[in-house]
């Protein structure tokens, strides 16, 4: 396990920089510049910048990963000519969208039209800062980081609805309403599935949850919760089979019909950011985060940044599962979706909670140590 910490790295960087600057400055300035507060503020900013860059690059690679995987599922190749194997494709897309003319439909509401996607994007990015990628690689250990993450995650319907409403288009409006209904309906089973994890691990802190999985990953004992969580995540991420809000066949592009250029890029990026965060959460809650089973040779787990490496590998595999589902299932209808959400998912998630409670009560959890990752 690496002992590096993202915040530590950025703090060291800023501190080094400021002391070297301060050493050449005259008296009042050098004291001021090496002042602890300034270092703190600046290092937080650097930390945020690194996070931002990492999340953007990750998202873009994720889009590439989906396009390539989906291509093979569809018996074709996917993006391949722009950059090696199409790796630069999404950078080209982003640059192009950045270049596009930004506009507002004549009858659209200015404030909502522009603030909706921006807020959607920003909240999705904040999520990234909350989640630990490896030990020390988060914004600090928040005792309630899981709750915070899910709370921010559930902001989205509001902003989607705002942008859908203000773009003054019937399709957008319908897409926005569907989106809001769907997200709210699936919020509940999602949280209940998380409750099962919390019961077993006894903590709301994601770092602790992962540490608790040193001995056994939670996907074994909490399989039911995992299924509910993945289904709920699919709905939250608005992916097939639950991508009704953007259902291309009936609502042209759903709530982002009227968006083009950079605002559309915001939506796309935020969608995939949420996809990334969803995969992160699945890995963190059920697949042992950055820990690896003890039977994995030490050489594979002890190199620097091994935690991040394995964490990302797991994340991309989980996202691959989402892509697989997208490639093989049709989308369900609104009423069916809501019916499944309220009638099936909530009982299932309640059952998962009870199961978790029972497992904890009878103390049979160590049985699952035989599943991948018995470690000491």
């Amino acid at each position: 396990m690496s002992s590096l910490s993202l915040y530590g790295v950025s703090f060291d960087l800023v501190h080094l920089l400021l002391t070297s600057i301060g050493s050449v400055l005259p008296y009042p300035l050098d004291a001021w510049i090496t002042n602890g507060t300034l270092v703190l503020v600046l290092s937080v900013l650097v930390f945020a910048a690194i996070l931002l860059a990492a999340s953007m690059i990750n998202t873009i690679v994720l889009i590439w990963w989906e396009r390539k995987l989906l291509g093979r599922f569809m018996d074709r190749r996917g993006a391949m000519h722009v950059g090696y194997a199409g790796l630069l494709q999404n950078f080209a897309d982003g640059l192009k969208l950045f270049r596009k003319h930004t506009f507002k439909p004549a009858e659209a509401d200015t404030l909502g039209f522009f603030s909706g996607p921006t807020a959607y994007m920003v909240t999705s990015m904040i999520l990234f800062g909350v989640l630990p990628i490896s030990t020390g690689w988060n914004s600090g250990s928040l005792p309630l980081s899981l709750l915070l993450a899910l709370a921010i995650f559930s902001f989205a319907p509001l902003f989607i609805f705002v942008s859908a409403w203000s773009s003054n288009n019937k399709y957008s409006l319908m897409g926005g309403m569907r989106s809001a209904a769907q997200m709210i309906a699936y919020e509940v089973p999602l949280l209940l599935a998380v409750v099962a994890v919390v019961i077993v691990s006894g903590s709301f802190d994601l770092t602790t949850i992962v540490t608790e999985q040193q001995n056994y990953w939670f996907w074994g004992p909490l399989f039911l919760a995992l299924v509910v969580f993945v289904a709920g995540m699919l709905a939250e991420m608005e992916r097939i089979p639950f991508d009704l809000p953007e259902a291309e066949a009936e609502l042209v592009e759903g709530w982002n019909t009227e968006y083009g250029g950079m605002l559309f890029a915001f939506f796309m990026l935020a969608d995939y950011l949420r996809g990334l965060v969803g995969s992160f959460l699945v890995v963190l809650l059920f697949l042992g985060g950055w820990t690896m089973p003890s039977w994995v040779p030490g050489a594979l787990t002890n190199f620097p940044l091994a935690g991040i490496f394995w964490f990302l590998v797991k994340t991309y595999l989980v996202f691959g599962l989402f892509v697989w589902i997208r490639a093989s299932l049709p989308r369900v209808r609104t009423d069916q979706l809501l019916r499944v959400g309220w009638n099936r998912m909530i009982p299932l998630s309640l059952a998962a909670v009870f199961l978790a409670a029972a497992l904890v009560t009878v103390k049979c959890l160590p049985v699952f140590g035989c599943l991948p990752s018995p470690g000491v």
Binding site: L70, F73, M74, D75, R76, K170, Y171, M174, I240, P241, D243, L244, A247, E248, A249, E250, L251, V252, R326, A327, S328, L329, P330, R331, V332, R333, T334, D335, Q336
Partner: protein, 378 residues
């Protein structure tokens, strides 16, 4: 609230406008608006020679060009009193059945995309390309063939065609199983499609709906069986019928039709292997146009003693029952050409199978109708 779905809308599969009145997500009324692709084919045909109309027929229905060529050629032969040779009839049957598979695969691709299945769309298009490659190998084009002629067909099959075609049929038969697994095997698909867009047999007959939509309601009506033409009397096949009258039933009927087409095609290929012969009637009027010496300008023709006549034909096009009415008033050009497009009638009944369902149901229902706007607007 009225919403316009079209003319540019992913659901329409072409250029038309479905105006839907909705109450929440419920459809209370609808009004299709056609004519965005009206190209005046019937009018242009009046200015063309008989064989030159065939180039328009390919473009009338661009996913089933051969069926329309066949339709027109049958009617024109009737009007001009020409009898095609037997091998040409088998070749036309071959074309039409392969076209049925191609058209149904195109329908499959478009339909599954409507309900959100991403990869089967690609599979359908991929396998359709195999059929188009076969067409290209003997007609020289992928979609606009210009292969049939009044009095036969342009050329015979190239050597090695039948063996290759059999391989393609084998490949397709295996794929049909996969298609069923991807669609019928998925519960979401069944939930999306069962009991949707129901159009009872009585309504079908009243509104003039034909083809797979009619057969999905349990009416065993197929022009190939009822009024056989070309080589169909000699061939053995079943008419696919379902009793659900809904989207799933239409899916089943079309899939079964493709299997029946494979069965028909194996018989046709066997026949073609063993019965060489001419493919074009030997005595044809010069004024039929290419590839014979053209007529050119009107004043070239001094002595006309053309026979008059009128032709009517009806065939089972992939979308339904198509009819043609050709009037020959003793000139090089048809006096009047009138077509009946099956999709035209199927779309006119929209109100009967759309009202009462939800907005999210529009794509599967309209997808199951298998729309080709080119032949509706003509």
């Amino acid at each position: 609230m009225w919403i316009n779905m079209g003319p540019q809308h992913p659901m329409t599969h072409g250029l038309w406008n479905l105006r839907v009145k909705i109450d929440g997500e419920l459809i209370t009324d609808c009004d299709p608006e056609m004519g965005y692709l009206h190209r005046g084919i019937e009018k242009i045909s009046e200015d063309r020679h008989y064989n030159e109309v065939i180039t328009l027929m390919d473009r009338t229905c661009y996913v089933a060009g051969f069926a329309w060529e066949h339709l027109y050629v049958l009617a024109a032969e009737e009007a001009l009193h020409i009898q095609p040779p037997e091998r040409a009839e088998y070749l036309r049957t071959l074309c039409e059945e392969f076209q049925r598979i191609g058209s149904h695969l195109m329908w499959y691709a478009a339909f599954v995309q409507d309900i959100g299945l991403m990869s089967p769309f690609l599979y359908g298009m991929r396998d359709r390309d195999l059929v188009l490659d076969l067409f290209q190998s003997y007609t020289g084009a992928r979609m606009t063939y210009e292969y049939m002629r009044v009095g036969g067909v342009r050329n015979d099959l190239p050597p090695g065609f039948t063996g290759h075609a059999r391989k393609v049929l084998d490949w397709l038969s295996d794929r049909f199983v996969e298609y069923d697994r991807l669609c019928l095997g998925s519960d979401i698909f069944r939930k999306r499609c069962d009991g949707l867009g129901v159009l009872s047999a009585a309504d079908c007959v009243a509104t003039g709906v034909t083809g797979p939509m009619l057969r999905s309601a349990g009416v065993k009506r197929d022009v190939r069986r009822d009024r056989p033409y070309a080589a169909y009397p000699q061939l053995d096949f079943d008419v696919a019928v379902a009793d659900g009258a809904d989207v799933t039933a239409r899916y089943l009927v079309r899939m079964e039709e493709m299997r029946q087409s494979v069965r028909l095609l194996r018989q046709v290929l066997d026949w073609l292997d063993h019965h060489p012969g001419p493919v074009l009637a030997d005595r044809l009027p010069r004024w039929l146009g290419a590839p014979y010496a053209p007529v050119g300008k009107e004043e070239y023709v001094l002595k006309r003693n053309y026979p008059k006549g009128v032709g009517f034909s009806s065939i089972e096009e992939p979308h339904g029952e198509a009819q043609a009415y050709v009037v020959n008033e003793g000139s090089e050009h048809p006096y009047r050409v009138k077509f009946r497009s099956p999709v035209f009638a199927n779309l006119s009944a929209t109100r009967h199978y759309l009202v009462g369902y939800r907005v999210a149901d529009i794509p599967p229902i309209m997808g199951s109708v298998d729309i080709c706007v080119g032949e509706v607007d003509r």
